[in-house]
Symmetry: C2
Subunit: 196 residues, 2 copies
């Protein structure tokens, strides 16, 4: 049993090292990406869409060339457990998702996924064993055509210096940067040191 080019155990090791813990969603995510990779349409360059920010993006980042920072992975916040890989120019691709109709054969996975059990009522060993045994059997796959303008990040465009903070920012955001327009998440900010 492999997850893309890795053995199952190698993949678990990568998950621990990158993500910090053996999150059940990320193990299922490995099978999702694996099944999508095995069903790619023809083409050379693939981008990814992940339909939740929870766990799943890390499976894509571990197993494919697509990352948040290089822009080949987009996240849409639908809260659905699905990954789409699509050919960059045509938008044609495959979508693999956790199929709720297939959950009844795997009760511990079902109760975890649908939040029917609280965390302290779950049995992590049984859960991981069922995930491993189920593999692709929890999943279904669809052929999709992606309207990639809706998911890809916008070009930054021309850059200017924000008159408030003095930092560079995309001029399309307005007369000052979005932080200085009031979106700042910082309650206090003070210069402490300048690297020389």
């Amino acid at each position: 049993m492999n997850i893309c080019t890795y053995s199952y155990e190698e993949y678990l090791h990568l998950v621990k090292s990158f993500h910090g813990n053996l999150a059940p969603g990320l193990i299922i995510g490995g099978f999702i990406v694996d099944l999508a990779m095995k069903n790619l349409p023809e083409g050379e360059l693939f981008d990814a869409v992940c339909e939740t920010p929870v766990c799943l993006p890390d499976a894509v980042q571990i197993l494919t060339p697509c990352t948040i920072g290089n822009g080949w992975l987009s996240i849409v916040n639908f809260g659905r457990f699905a990954v789409t890989l699509y050919e960059k120019y045509s938008g044609k691709g495959v979508r693999v998702y956790l199929d709720t109709e297939k959950l009844n054969d795997w009760p511990e996975v079902r109760d975890w996924y649908l939040k029917k059990k609280k965390k302290n009522e779950q049995d992590p060993e049984v859960l991981l064993a069922q995930i491993k045994k189920a593999g692709h059997k929890l999943l279904s796959i669809q052929k999709v055509h992606v309207d990639f303008e809706k998911v890809r990040r916008r070009k930054m465009g021309p850059v200017g210096i924000c008159p408030v903070c003095g930092e560079a920012y995309p001029l399309k955001d307005g007369a000052s940067c979005r932080n200085c327009q009031g979106e700042t998440p910082y309650i206090e900010i003070s210069k402490i040191k300048t690297a020389k």
Copy 2:
């Protein structure tokens, strides 16, 4: 010269392997994360904020335990080249940014960063050499207090089955999932296969 626990060359290798290419922003990002790590306040658990989705999140994901999938890395789309690391519970932390006032000593970096030269006018070798030589000298650092409610991802809450697509989704999104409410990025979708 090190980038966190890696030599400069090891870091370049990780960048190539994870991100796909030696993006200048990601090399600077390595120095940004390195300087932030060296100036962390006391505490054990740190979360990260990245103020642009471009390149920089991958430096955080390569060099710290914070990833998009585990939720310890948040991205705000200010288009500023800055990373904040903050103590998870107090919100106290440090923000490191590319300081536009320091760019004049490094003209190739300045022209790339402020988009004063088109891509085909840039000299990638000179650019990378200046970035390596400058290191922390391009950066400044601030003490910040993060209002983390503004940046952390929301809890998913109770889960239901979408009456349209049949997939699980967060009930807080409404009577059906956001995809089926009209946000779908898929032009066409058809079931092609069921894993058995």
